[in-house]
Amino acid sequence: MSDFQASPELLAIYLEDARQHLEAVDHCLLTLEREGADSEVVTAVLGPLHTLKGNSGMIGFPGIKDYVHRLEDVFARVQEDALALDRDAFDRLFAGATALRDAIEQASREGREARSLEAEKADLERLMMSEVPEAAPQAASVAPPIVRAPAGPAAPSVPTPSSAPTRPARIESHYTARSSVVRVEFSQLDHLLNLVGELIIHRTKLQELGKALAEMPGARESARELLAAVHQVSGVSQQLQETVMDVRMLPIRHVFERFPRLVRDLARETGKEIELILEGEDTRIDKAIIDEIGDPLVHLIRNSVDHGIEPPGVRVTNGKTPTGTILLSATQESNHVVITIMDDGAGIDAVTVRQKAVERGLLKADDTLSDRDVVQLIFSQGFSTREAITEVSGRGVGLDVVLKSIERLNGLVEVETVPGVGTKFIIQLPLTLAIISALLVEVSDRTYAIPLGSVVESIKLRGAAVHTINGRETLRIRERIVPLLRLSRLFGLPQAHDPEREYAVIIGRGDKRVGVVVNRLRGQQEVVIKALDPAVAAADVGMAGATIMGDGRVVLILDVASLFDGKRLAAVHGRLLPALEA
């Protein structure tokens, strides 16, 4: 026992390191199971295990330390060829790794060991007792559940990756690259970015002063020098901003690395054979997005395993390889990161989706929506095509949750599918949540920012084009009826009564459109997002954050997704009625 009480700071460091070590264990097991015994792979995991053992002892978790010690013994015996792992052994080792993870997470949260690993430790000891049979079988003959097989011609929708990832090297470099790394609290980086944001604001102010000074007789020379100096400051602050942004970025590997284990476990649960291929793990994205994108991706991968990939027998009957493939890839495209989840499974049948959508009242029976658009309805609230609830997905949580999560990150999600060939989910995310391009609009002399990614078009509003349907103002744009939302009413602002000065900014969410009525368009600008106080945010005010303008004014950024919220629209509607009655 240690003679000190582990502080939350120490526990956090312990947990962060332990998670990396646990990833190394998962990775090692997955590789061994898939590719057979490999001494190099085992060696790569012994270092992390040894460190985890030492750390667990030092922080005062002897039960965890002892279990890791046993696990080290198991791997050491595998390395010496004194222990061969069969399918059952892998299952037990994976289960043990999960128990270890649970124990570590719980102990780090509570500051003391709460989950006993005694049963798992005894299991490891039993595993070690098993002797190596004559002519120790290499894993290839142990019938691993996942067979490495490139997507054949039967699965044209999933391309074979151009370069197969070499994982053992990755773990090694991951493990050793840490020496030049400095730990920084993310909140400090946030603070740094805020300071840079303010610096840029003051720079703009200086620029304006310089320009004003240049207009004054006799001050022209000084103004010229001032502006030259401001120009220099401009360049440096721009670089500073880019550097700080860059520091906040992490490779998407931090999210991807837990999926091989997930897919392996799901495949076992569902009796399917699935190979997961990862691509573009080095693509970098803001840490704030890394923290949020995990759950939606888990959901989509579960969906591919459960609804996409067919059981081996069905696949073979359909002329496919028994092993299905899921390709998870990330690439950067200009200011965005695009993540795709592609499977060579059954695809989504538009006819079934159309039927369900009609049953659920999401679509009219005679609607002429194209198949491609119909398929997007799987993201609608309350939509699920599977009758039976399985262990894997269909837990009452639909893809609408995925859509919402991704929209909260200012991203987009789409699905493309070919029945019988496969399905591809495409997620487009901004590189960062800290800076966005926004359209600045004015409502009743107040300025608001609308994230540009959601803006479809803006239209000069003429009184004649507005129709009132069921008590709601709507606008007819080409063949569509678009409901209008008056921000002045939503926010209870004094109404501007100059219809000539009104514009409708049409914002889109999936297939839906809403026209936001504003008094003036003030152009687009890159804005640094500052989070609202949680007390304000919790009140659900329809704001995604705030930003500060060059003149020091605070401008609120609209939360576009919330403007599509039915309840909100009803609230606006509700507020309208008393006013009419009065």
């Binding site: 026992m1 240690s2 003679d3 000190f4 700071e9 120490l10 460091i13 312990y14 962060e16 390191d17 270092g47 040894h50 460190t51 053992k53 030492g54 750390n55 002892g57 030092m58 922080i59 005062g60 002897p62 330390k65 010690h69 080290e72 013994d73 090694e172 493990y175 050793t176 840490r178 020496s179 730990r183």
Partner: protein
């Protein structure tokens, strides 16, 4: 009086704990290295290191290799080394002691154990 201690370990947690455990040595600077190679660099950069706390199992260059290197350098061979070992690697600790390390502590250790050993070695 201790002025500088070089702590060599691949675990960020252990470095944080050294900071805590060694805070009783006022005015003593703690120099950290994540592996043997980095520790050699630190020895070159920092003058007047009085003591080395050395983990054995580290990537890039392990503790024993590091120990072997510094034992060949007249400038470094007189710096006392304490091996910080972990259960299950007893043979490495013995090798380290044979190579000239002055003592060892086994993880998990208490602050008082480390203090006792440091005092014994540095006042000897």
């Amino acid at each position: 009086m201790l002025r500088k201690i070089l702590a060599v370990d691949d675990s960020a947690l252990i470095h944080q704990m050294y900071k805590l455990f060694l805070s009783r040595y006022k005015n003593c600077k703690l120099v950290s290295a994540m592996n043997g190679l980095e520790a050699l660099d630190k020895l070159g950069q920092e003058e007047g290191i009085d003591l080395i706390l050395l983990d054995i199992n580290m990537p890039v260059m392990n503790g024993l290799e590091f120990l072997q290197r510094i034992q060949k350098e007249p400038a470094y061979q007189t710096i006392p080394v304490i091996i910080i070992s972990t259960e299950g690697k007893e043979e490495d600790t013995i090798r380290g002691l044979k190579m000239g390390a002055k003592g060892y502590v086994k993880k998990p250790f208490q602050a008082s154990e480390l203090h006792g050993l440091i005092e014994k070695i540095t006042t000897a």
